[in-house]
């Protein structure tokens, strides 16, 4: 389990982390989402042991990870800008990683050669950004980490490769119980793979819940009212957002679908339908309450 407890980190007066709390349970996929500058990359760098928090704790399996090779050996990370040596080939970087990670699986490295279709003698610097990312995945997966930390992982990969990469990771999660922490903007993709989600903004984690919980506790209702004014909704309903196109009103309400529907029916709508929200929508509406300017763009 990875835990970040009330981590605070200031860079020259800027509070990048302002009491962030994250708990990544074992054997699952945790998606860390948030707007740019929320502190996702910063918290990831704390988890991988690059930064040390000004206060608070960053623990892996109960032990602080900073300057702790034993814990770091359990982690492998792919940052958004992966570092490789100037003239290194994939094989060179493989040998380098092998010298540090005790669990490095050379057999797996060989097996993945066909999967990733990059010649191992290729100089990484000369590959396209997408292929460099693939190489990063290739090597990192061979480290057989217990915890895989990914910062904007599939940026730059083509759809086929993306699927392939997720497929491998999910297989590891199923078979070996690998825990994955992934930070991304691509919520549609995260939705398929995550079972836990943490939403970050301004250095704090606003919401951290299993995806089920999130999806079950917020509902989109579409209602058509009788001609005339739309009724005021019952006060007990926590309405996050109201919009309408013509007479079709859309409400985003916190609560379970069945309960909220039941609450609204007495108001006498002509039509009432409860729809589940995508992760993207949840993200937008949850943050909308945090003064994150979400403007409706009319296309």
């Amino acid at each position: 389990m990875i835990e970040v407890k009330n981590a605070v980190k200031t860079f020259e007066g800027f509070r990048a982390l302002d009491g962030a709390d994250i708990t990544v349970p074992d054997g699952g996929v945790y998606g860390l989402v948030g707007p740019n500058g929320a502190g996702k990359s910063t918290v990831i760098r704390h988890i991988t042991g690059i930064y040390r928090p000004d206060s608070g704790e960053v623990l892996v399996e109960g032990e602080p990870v900073y300057e702790n090779p034993a814990q770091k050996a359990l982690l492998a990370a792919i940052p958004d800008d992966w570092y490789y040596f100037q003239s290194a080939t994939v094989a060179d970087m493989m040998r380098f990683y092998r010298g540090f990670y005790p669990a490095f699986d050379t057999a797996r490295y060989e097996r993945f050669k066909e999967v990733f279709a990059i010649p191992e003698k290729a100089v990484i610097r000369r590959l396209s950004k997408g292929m460099q990312k693939q190489a990063a995945f290739w090597l990192t997966m061979c480290c057989r980490p217990r915890y895989l930390i990914l910062d904007e992982p599939v940026d730059g990969l083509d759809p086929v490769m993306r699927r392939q990469v997720w497929s491998i990771m999910m297989s590891d999660v199923a078979e070996h119980g690998t825990t994955v922490l992934v930070s991304s903007h691509n919520l549609r993709e995260l939705e398929d793979v995550c079972d836990h989600v943490g939403i970050m903004n301004k250095g704090k984690v606003l919401i951290e819940r299993s995806l089920n919980d999130l999806q079950e506790n917020i509902v989109k209702l579409q209602a058509v009212w009788k001609p005339g004014e739309a009724p005021v909704l019952p006060k007990e309903l926590e309405v996050l957002h109201i919009s309408h196109v013509g007479r079709v009103y859309t409400y985003i309400v916190r609560g379970k679908a069945a309960e909220v529907t039941a609450r609204l029916e007495p108001c006498g709508p002509l039509m009432l339908e409860a729809l589940p929200l995508s992760l993207e929508e949840i993200f937008i509406y949850e943050l909308g309450g945090e003064h994150y300017a979400v403007k409706e763009i009319i296309l």
Binding site: R45, P69, P79, D81, Y83, R95, A103
Partner: protein, 621 residues
Amino acid sequence: MNWEVSTMQSKRSFFNRTLFRKNLTRFWPLWGIVSAVGSLMPLYVLLELLNGGGGNVTQVQFTELLYTVAAMAVPAVSCAYAILCAMLVWSYLYSPRSVGLMHTLPVDRTCLFVTSVLSGLAMMLIPYAVVGALTCLIALVFGFFDFTAACFTVLAVVLMTVTFFGLATFCAMLTGNVFALPVLYLLVNFLAPLLEALVVTLSSQFLLGFTGSSQGIFDFLAPIFGIYENISLEYVPTRGPAEACYLVGFGTLFLYFLAGLALLGLGYLLYRRRPSESAGDVAAFRGLRPVFRWGLALLSALTLGYLLYELFCTPFQWGCYANPAFMAVCMAITGLLGWYAASMFLEKSLRVFKGSLKSAVVVCVVMAALCFAISADLFGIEDRVPALEDIQAVSIADMDLRATYFTEDDREMVERIVSLHRALLADKEGLRREAYGDYHCLLLTYTLKNGTALSRVYRFSVQEDRLDDPASWSAQVAALYRDPALAVSQVTIPDNGTITSIFAYDFVNGYGEELLESSEAQSSSAKVLYDAILQDAREGNIPGPPVFPGDGEYPYDVRFEIEYRTVEERGGYQHHYDAIQLYPSMEHTIGTLLDLELVTEARVELWNQALVEQYGEDALG
């Protein structure tokens, strides 16, 4: 593969082989090229041997070669090479991407530090090993190998390597920017003598008499200076063909080595506390930021401030000494410039002026205060005149007057010079008021019994109206310069000296014609001539330096060169050389020349004619 097995970390490792190997293979161009260039030396030796016959080189010559390289080349090479190795080995600290990789890997900083230091030292020693091995191989093949010499050379190389690499690593830990590192290293290497030189130069603009030559007290803080000053070769015997050769100065090398180790230790401690996010920043630690700001402000004020003053304020200054107020303004302006430049580097932005008014004022005040402190002569440098009992020797020099020495045996002259010095200091205002165009530039150098030296230089023009006041410096200068004792001192050779030769050259015809070339064999004529010159000196026939412009007599274009040697304490001889110009008034010398039939009357007539041609009828007066 089952990852449960992997978590059994049995022991903590301090060294990572993969990283070490990677460093050496990654940076092979550096140590490869240095090795190749260094190998040219043994290659050259080999070619020489093959051409000139290999049987003639002795073991002592081999030893001398090794030690000469160790004493002359290795310090400078190590100093420069160390920073290159450090820049490469620590390069991962200077970019956020590489810091990320290295600190994500399952190793702690101790392991990274140890491995990197060993990589750097290995890179430094490989070229030496290659060159050394080649040289020793050649020596073995040609039969002049000396094992002891090789060992001592290796020792010297290792000591110096650790010294400079330790210093370079320490600097590497202080900064986060790869370009700032070599600048910092250079600065730290020469900081003490540099600062001293700057302060001394500035002081010489304010302090009356201060010559602006550094004492070199702090030179030991610059390893390169300290090493070069203390390392040397010694031969046994000291003269003649050497039978043995020794490298002297291991004590110094060892001290610097310890300092290098200490700096490595400090570097390690710094690394442990260094925040990874400092990659790319000029100052790796927050506490270093004011150091950088003030440091740059100070350096800027001391160098550019002086420059600014020279450019704009010198026309306005009164006399040849700087105006403290103007200099303070220049130093304040340039100090501020340095301060803001430092801020720009630290903030990585040009917008550093907001809210900085208070700091700006403080900087200006401090720089101005520094300027006034220097100009105020807080250490009483201006008035420092050594006590008579402390003086071992004193010399005076002034334009035409070459440095003339008086030792403590010549008490009267020493007293007179000291008295002149005091008289000059009693009239500071007058001396300061002098502008350019001073006729005299008197350089006084005291050699004190404790081994130090004190130099002062005073510019003045002798004032005719003060000549009748014996206490005034004008009168004392006049009296001194007209005293035959000066000439006598110039001519006289010390007691422990023996004349080796006297040459006389006649340049009147435009080319040097030897009148007399004497070696021991003809010492009798040489001695007679020398005595004649001495007598002329005693009788005041040799004119002293001119007191007033227009004074002075004109010499023939005839010159004597007296060479003599003295026996040194450490054994061996020291050769000295005096040159005396021939004046028409030197009757004894001319008479002796005629007696010895070295010149004819006709020639003397020629000399006279040449003199009149050049300087007019008065010349012969």
